[in-house]
């Protein structure tokens, strides 16, 4: 089988601003693929194009061997994608469990049922308990989102992304704003996610990157400079110079 996700010759410009330039990349089944690159490299724009939040100017995105570049993002969820956002993007006036309910419903066919109360669906309840317990948020299920700490909200973003039984999850800087202990907790959680879920992650924290990545793609000024396993990226002289200022990775 081919790669789960294939991006080929992807371009995105905003008027005169050319943000993505002929980006090519592949994400294999079960991989933990991390995208790194300095601010403004176009990482989030790449995510938005993969997820359908933005339409690419040119180029193709294949998911499970089918072109999806012009599909609305809600259709991609049904095909098995989900994502988190760089800035918390939650339903602040709803409770934690209501947030999770919505995320679970995203991939259910009975989301169009107007006549049966949501809470009577057993699988919704089971899935909710499962994800909330797994991530240690079950005790907080009745809290409103805006009562949670920032780190907990970050966590809830990830919980939502995992609630729709996805095959590919896009995590946009999941650890930004987390405390060191939350970050290490997060890293452990990521390692526990079963391998039938593929992860594509944008991450700045190099410790996190090298502890979870199978493969790293470096994005710089909208170009995918390099893709490879962590060791080869760590050793690449050019990368060290332009991105890490040299030597930063050898420690």
């Amino acid at each position: 089988m081919n790669a789960l996700l294939k991006v080929s010759d992807l371009n995105k410009s905003f008027k005169a601003l050319h943000v993505l330039k002929n980006v090519n990349m592949e994400v294999e089944n079960g991989e933990r693929h991390v995208i790194i690159g300095p601010n403004g490299a176009g990482k989030t724009t790449l995510f938005n194009c993969i997820y359908g939040t933005l339409t690419p100017t040119s180029g193709m995105v294949y998911f499970k061997d089918k072109p999806i570049h012009d599909e609305e993002s809600y259709k991609r969820v049904k095909k098995g994608m989900s994502r988190t956002f760089q800035k918390n993007n939650l339903f602040e006036d709803l409770t934690v469990e209501e947030n999770v309910h919505l995320a679970i419903l995203g991939n259910k066919d009975y989301k169009f049922n107007p006549l049966k109360p949501l809470l009577q669906y057993k699988d919704v309840n089971e899935k909710k308990v499962e994800v909330l317990e797994e991530w240690g948020m079950y005790a907080r299920r009745k809290w409103l989102v805006n009562q949670l700490s920032y780190g907990e909200q970050r966590l809830l973003e990830i919980i939502l992304a995992l609630s729709s039984n996805p095959t590919l999850v896009l995590l946009d800087e999941p650890t930004s704003g987390m405390s060191p202990s939350e970050t290490s907790q997060f890293t452990n959680f990521i390692k526990k996610i079963p391998r039938d879920i593929t992860l594509l992650i944008i991450e700045h924290d190099m410790e996190v990157v090298f502890s979870i990545a199978d493969k790293i793609t470096v994005l710089h000024h909208g170009e995918a400079l390099l893709s490879g396993d962590p060791e080869s990226v760590r050793g690449e002289q050019m990368i060290q110079e332009i991105y890490f200022g040299g030597g930063a990775l050898s420690k």
Binding site: T53, Y74, N89, F91, L102, L105, P114, P117, L118, L119
Partner: protein, 339 residues
């Protein structure tokens, strides 16, 4: 579901009970309340659960009413008349909803307002159904067990529709469709990312609310036997909006309470002044400026404080009992010591 059924039964009991105790005049007014309650609850769905402040809702009320009047010239069967009103308003709101849903916020408001005004001008310009003067008709409902002619009978008939609407809205807002609607109101773009097409859920709610407003308009004819372009006016739409706010935004039953308060206040005020419109406008302004919730919020606030007070009293009593016991023990001790 249990709670929904219980509250529906409670509501049914209340509706059954009113004619037993109320004077004929109050029954007459309450019938109007029930009609407006159906109308306001349907608007409450799209405003309070869908975040769509529509000024086009009177278009559907009026359309339902006009359908009954126009068809009643040829048929008298209540199933046909109500069914036609329902189907027509469902279709109309589906189409207009589809158009209006291309826009959000202020554009949505303007587009819905324009729909209402178009129907208003067409109905007052056309000679067909009385033009600007309106037209009266003579319809009696017969569901298969005799004509409903008495005012109590009419009250019960409309009461059935009211309770049904309440039940339907309760179920709808607790179903996946309803929960998703609320999510779309809270954060539309996030819902897209979670796998929902927001337009479908908004249009569905808009259509359901439209059909319900249409039924309310049709029932209005059974009570008033008269239709005029006034029903389409922005005034009617604005009145429904104020009912939603007086009663309680974001709840199902709140708008029904608001309809009750509105009809009775209007009736009372109109009995001694012609300046109802002025007073209504001032109520609008006051509601916005005071930033208080609706009646239902005040009621639940009162209820909560009663519950808290009772809890407090109960714990005080318990403490008293403990103190008394302790005293008794002390006395007993003293007695045994002295012995």
């Amino acid at each position: 579901m249990k709670r929904i059924i219980l509250s529906t039964i409670g509501l049914m009991a209340a509706v059954l009970f009113i004619p037993v105790v109320a004077s004929p005049y109050v029954i007459y007014l309450s019938t109007e309340v029930l009609i407006m309650a159906i109308f306001a609850m349907s608007l409450g769905l799209i405003m309070g659960f869908g975040g769509m402040p529509s000024l086009g809702h009177s278009a559907l009320f009026g359309l339902g009413a006009y359908t009954v009047v126009a068809l009643s010239q040829y048929v008298s069967n209540v199933y046909v008349l109500l069914g036609a009103a329902l189907i027509l308003t469902l279709i109309f709101s589906l189409i207009t909803g589809f158009i209006a849903m291309r826009n959000t916020g202020i554009f949505f408001l303007m587009v819905t307002l324009a729909f209402t005004q178009v129907l208003y001008l067409i109905s007052s310009g056309m000679n067909l159904w009385g033009g600007a003067d309106g037209m009266s008709t003579m319809v009696r409902a017969n569901f298969g067990f005799g004509n409903i002619a008495s005012s109590t009978g009419l009250f019960y008939m409309i009461g059935v529709f009211f309770v049904l609407s309440y039940f339907l809205l309760k179920v709808y807002t607790s179903s996946p469709m309803g929960k998703i609607l609320k999510g779309v109101m809270e954060n539309e773009s996030r819902m897209t990312a979670l796998g929902f097409n927001p337009k479908i859920f908004k249009t569905a709610a808009y259509t359901l609310a439209g059909g319900m407003a249409g039924i309310a308009g049709a029932l209005y004819i059974y009570k008033n036997q008269f239709v005029s372009p006034e029903l389409f006016s922005v005034h009617t739409a604005a009145e429904a909006m104020i009912m939603v706010f007086i009663g309680g935004y974001g709840t199902i039953f709140g708008p029904a309470l608001g309809a009750g308060a509105f009809v009775f206040i209007e009736n009372y005020v109109s009995s001694f002044t012609d300046r109802w419109s002025l007073i209504l406008g001032l109520i609008f302004i006051a509601i916005v400026m005071l930033k208080r919730g609706g009646i239902i919020h005040l009621l639940s606030l009162a209820w909560n404080s009663i519950v808290r007070m009772r809890k407090k009293m109960f714990s005080e009593r318990k403490r008293n009992v403990v103190e008394v016991k302790e005293e008794e023990e002390m006395v007993n001790e003293r007695i045994t010591k002295s012995q």
